[in-house]
Symmetry: C2
Subunit: 707 residues, 2 copies
């Protein structure tokens, strides 16, 4: 009898810990393996560059993992099934094939099954080496997801130019709204020590087509622009460069005062303009392909041009002028609102930026969150999308789950991203989707972009939970093509990350897709929003009132009273609905999913189910909890298809999610009942604890806080 | 031609990243492997317990890694070379062997080559299951270090009862004086999520005989004693329990006020005593084998019994009374000093605690840092050792390198620990070493202990640098036996962690041993101390003066003036030397290594080299830098013997160390020269920068700060 416990763990073999993300490259089973081996019998790579080297290495690594060994490298095709990598400029072999690469632009690629000297081969070609790298990841992905690799006729080009992660990472490695450990950027040890993890970050990001990363928090410190920190950023840039990823920095608007010794940061002051120009020159001397600046200005206490009576355009244009000679861009965030203004918070960004339409320099793009509030479980799309035809807007999604249960809750955000991108702004008639604003096609903008607030941290599995890797993945894929289906993305991710077994895929992808509506149900059903704990944003706290800013409270947004609940944003109220094109506004306001976002509704009003609003709220909250219980059961039944470590970890997280969904339901019902003064529908359990209990809970050590 | 880059990294195989520590269990080469296989042909484990299960699994894992496969498990010996695990109580087979286990106590073990039914076998036996586990690690270590495993006659028992790590880990995962990422204790996700890393922490610690861990910072928050945090600690305790590791907590003395709702924390107040008793009962209900409390009281702003006019003994005894019924202990730290007292800071702990000799309850042990100041590169041993014959003292070493270059500098602390333990207190005549105080033999104490302030964090390699793993290792081995040689420990560690190749071992172990004197040379030669940066303790700052507390400045300690430098601690000065037994004090004060610790010395006074003090200081500082350069060269030549990733990482760190050693030398020389007003000896380069430059350096994001 052999030792019962000489299992994977007892034998010391490394468990699946999530570090490999979707690039696991585990052995492919027969018969697929045979077909893949035949299609990748040798490699021919003509031309040389660091990017081509990493493309070649990635292909070797992937094939070696999936097929048992890497095919030999040859100088020229010498057998059936050669894989040829290269660009027309660097590879005579690729040039000779006369591929229609022209329309694909610098980042696009072709994968074609061709004949070379009478032998079948596959060519992965781009106009640039990074295009080739993207093609390699595509080719590998086809094997990882068990697609055919014969008869290929693939032509791909990204629809969006800037495909960026935004790290809200501080210089002390604390990550604002980070729930996966510390920042992966080890500023302290940089530039001397380059964590091998930076390479794997680059591989994972490049596999999705991500081509830029903003290293530091938008709530920026000026120190990040000092020489020592530029040198640190340069070391990161050196590691990321072969993967086609540019480094950007968040710039603190008052840096000329804080580290420049000036008395002002007025964007129209010549000394200030000269300081930024010199600073940009200094950065580009160290990082020749530096991407540019991201700026959060005059927002939540950050300094900005309005401190000097100047506009956001004045501020952005000054920085844009500084980086323009070097080809850099400025991403200026539209997330601005002021407590001093009596105006509905969600209307303020539109009011601020629509008048600046067309007033920005060519190399400025305005970065707009998906919704007008702040990454809630559901928001209507931001009314700025489509409202500035002369100024390009880029999308800002949040990958990290600040308002979605942190990394502990399983919430696949693909459907959220998709819902926003597919929303119709009607700004140039029906079909004027947000996606078409973002990809520049609606108004003919060449400068386009999509940013995702990263959920990457020092946790071994990168994202805090295994399923949160899917949000990084979905963001990256949608930044490449904003019209992809979130379900198809989930399929692809689940195949690569877990299993190609249909008995696994069908239930798990179904669970992922449903998870977004589930979190809406147990946190903020029917258009409710901003009910979370103060500061840390953990857990339910619809009772938050007072404090430094009314627009940071919960009561500001839900406005519950004995008469009803909801924020009237119709003409009878703040009229925020008027910020949309009429057709779009009508559609949004008529959608019951947005009911309490746009309307103030009496407790007894009937909703589409025929129930009263109060009863419907209770039903929805309860349904959210039940859906999480169902997710737990689904996952438990997936045990045969998942390695033990990841199965156990996901199961543990789902148990937390179930508890916390119950907590959200119970606390919100207990609180809102003090206004509705109505009983729960028959058969619905009362909250487990008193409202006082829920109000008494404190979380002084919640992760990810902004301070 | 096969692909050039299909290397370990390109092929996706995991690099040596340091995660496995000294438990790598890599394949053993012939002919040793053959001998080991013969000696471990099957396993017989009679008796069952979680501890025996992990002992068996560890043996299977180690043998499987080293020898290719784990031997089969058998019900009874059936061939030559059986390994038998067990205790006389649990295993009839072990009982039948009539082994002399009695004298070895609960944690000891025997490993013996025996004959069972006429066949050669090896028995690993203890009085307890954890003794068996320790024996398994010893047996594996013999193979890892290529020692024979035939003819074994091993009898081991720890000389110290409490062998503890102290984690200065906050509840938000920040680690005070931590330079290896965040706390491994993921308090936020506990108790629901148990990081698999906890198991590997337990394995590594148990492999050294560590049997307890204090989970939270001595600068404690009362929250750690609330029910949710007790539940979190209990989850950790559950994971560590099979490995013989008990959980302890740092207790905040004012907790009865902060979380108990009392008006006082006066240790003589009956309500306070009742509160602690109830709190202890509550903890023990959840963690039945809870170890007890560690307390930092009336020190550096922490609350304590003196706030109520009570003594340290009053405070400790109150807590001891609360845990006594459950078998718990109280470790009361002697690290106390007050800025208000005009007395030399290093004298205060002795003055405070010697009068309390014999006034503590039986289950109290006083925890004393190795030296009277604070973990400096060199300090004479703490004068309390040997000075409280009726009160047991435990040793507190710092494994994390707060004052030794953080995790970036290669400093093996074995010689530092050994120097302290081997120091002679002379309290009962010659040979009354600190080790004999610590192991209880000098005064006949049964309660003994040694604590190490952990350097364990979330970094993949646990300790921030690969070589800092050796400090964790050395601490653990010395806690088991304070009389081990630090060189032998370094050998053992280097063999297990890197290579058994003598071409590697000789230079690298030599470098490790020398590294401690090297850091003394480039930071604080000739008895200098406390010259580091303020607050963060990074880098040189001998100019620190003013601020909130004189005894936190550098000038308080070095006292440089145009006349000379050093702290007169002889009868003519603070007379701290009188806190030692006369023979010990004479020896310490006469040792040139402690020159400026005990004496104020004119710049022109000749030292043993024949040089003036000033010249000698410059020579020593310079030598320190040169020694680091030599370490770099040594390491560079070790490339053939070390895997690429670890080799590159250590090399990068050594480059930083060289720069920073130079910085220490230059800044200190530039500063002290303003007093000595003497030229540098001929041939010695002046500092690279001006003193103003060094003084201008700021490090706002230095890791590990105390706030």
């Amino acid at each position: 009898m052999t030792l019962g416990l000489a299992s994977e763990s007892a034998s010391g073999a490394r468990a699946e810990d999530g570090y490999d993300l979707w690039l696991r490259y585990r052995p492919v089973e027969a018969p697929a393996a045979g077909a893949y081996r035949a299609a990748a019998s040798e490699l021919v790579v003509q031309g040389g560059s660091p990017t081509l080297a990493v493309a070649r290495d990635e292909l070797a690594r992937g094939l070696s993992g999936m097929l048992g060994q890497a095919p030999p490298l040859a100088a020229a095709p010498g057998r059936d099934g050669t894989v040829i990598l290269g660009t027309p400029a660097g590879s005579p072999l690729v040039a000779r094939l006369n591929l229609p690469l022209e329309p694909l632009g610098p980042d696009g690629y072709l994968i074609r099954s061709v004949q070379v000297d009478g032998r079948p081969a596959t060519v992965i070609a781009g106009n640039s080496d990074v295009g080739v790298l993207y093609g390699v990841f595509d080719f590998l992905r086809r094997m990882q997801t068990r697609q055919p690799v014969a008869g290929l006729e693939v032509a791909e080009a990204p629809k969006v130019k800037l495909r960026l992660l935004n790290h809200w990472d501080n210089l002390d490695r604390h990550v604002e709204r980070g729930y996966s450990g510390q920042s992966i950027w080890d500023w302290w040890r940089l530039p001397d020590v380059r964590d091998p993890r930076y390479v794997d970050y680059a591989r994972a990001s490049a596999s999705l087509g991500i081509n830029g990363t903003v290293l530091n928090n938008v709530n920026a410190k000026a120190d990040s622009l000092t020489a020592p920190y530029i040198a640190k950023a340069a070391a990161v840039a050196d590691v990321l460069r072969p993967y086609g990823i540019k480094v950007y920095l968040s710039a603190r608007f008052s840096a000329p005062i804080e580290i420049g010794g000036l008395k002002t940061a007025d964007p129209l002051d010549p000394a200030v303009r000269a300081w930024w120009k010199a600073k940009a020159d200094e950065i580009y001397r160290t990082i020749p392909d530096f991407g540019g600046f991201l700026v959060k200005a005059n927002s939540e206490g950050q300094p900005g041009p309005q401190d000097y009576g100047r506009s956001h355009a004045d501020g952005a244009n000054m920085l844009a002028e500084a980086v323009a000679p070097h080809g850099g861009v400025v991403m200026w965030r539209a997330f601005v609102y002021s407590n001093e203004q009596p105006e509905d918070r969600i209307k303020q960004a539109y009011n601020e930026f629509v008048p600046l339409n067309g007033k920005f320099r060519d190399n400025v793009i305005v970065q707009v969150k998906n919704g007008p509030l702040d990454f809630q479980p559901r928001e209507p799309f931001h009314p700025l999308f489509g409202a500035t035809p002369k100024t390009p807007l880029m999308m800002e999604f949040q990958i990290t789950k600040e308002y979605l249960g942190f990394s502990t809750h399983l919430v696949y955000q693909g459907p959220l991203y998709e819902e926003t991108l597919a929303a119709d702004t009607w700004r140039k008639g029906q079909g004027s989707t947000v996606a078409k604003v973002v990809d520049g096609s609606l108004f003919g903008h060449a400068l386009t972009g999509m940013a995702g607030v990263a959920n990457v941290g020092s946790d071994r599995n990168w994202s805090g939970s295994h399923f949160d890797q899917a949000n990084w993945y979905a963001f990256g894929r949608l930044a490449w093509d904003p019209e992809l289906s979130s379900r198809a993305i989930a399929q692809e991710w689940a195949r690569m990350t877990f299993s190609n077994d249909p008995r696994f895929l069908e239930p798990v992808v179904g669970m992922m897709i449903a998870s977004r509506e589930t979190v809406v149900d147990y946190m903020t059903p029917l258009g409710l929003h901003h009910l979370m704990g103060e500061g840390h944003h953990y857990g339910p706290a619809p009772w938050v009132a007072g404090g430094p800013r009314a627009d940071w409270t919960s009561v500001y947004f839900h406005r519950a009273s004995p008469e009803g609940i909801g924020f009237d944003r119709m003409a009878s109220g703040s009229n925020a609905v008027a910020q949309y094109a009429p057709e779009a506004g009508r559609a949004l306001a008529a959608d019951e999913k947005n009911l309490l976002w746009f309307h103030r509704v009496p407790w007894d009003q009937r909703v589409s189910s025929g129930r009263t609003l109060w009863d419907e709220l209770v039903v929805r909250y309860t349904k959210g909890v039940e859906e999480v219980s169902a997710m737990r059961r689904t996952w438990a039944s997936m045990k045969p298809y998942v390695d033990p470590q990841r199965h156990a970890e996901v199961a543990a997280y789902l148990a937390v999610q179930e508890q916390e969904a119950q907590w959200w339901r119970d606390a919100c019902i207990a609180y809102f009942q003090t206004f509705s003064k109505r009983p729960l529908p028959a058969g619905y359990a009362p909250p487990a604890h008193s409202l006082d209990y829920y109000r008494s809970l404190e979380f002084p050590y919640a992760p990810g806080r902004g301070d």
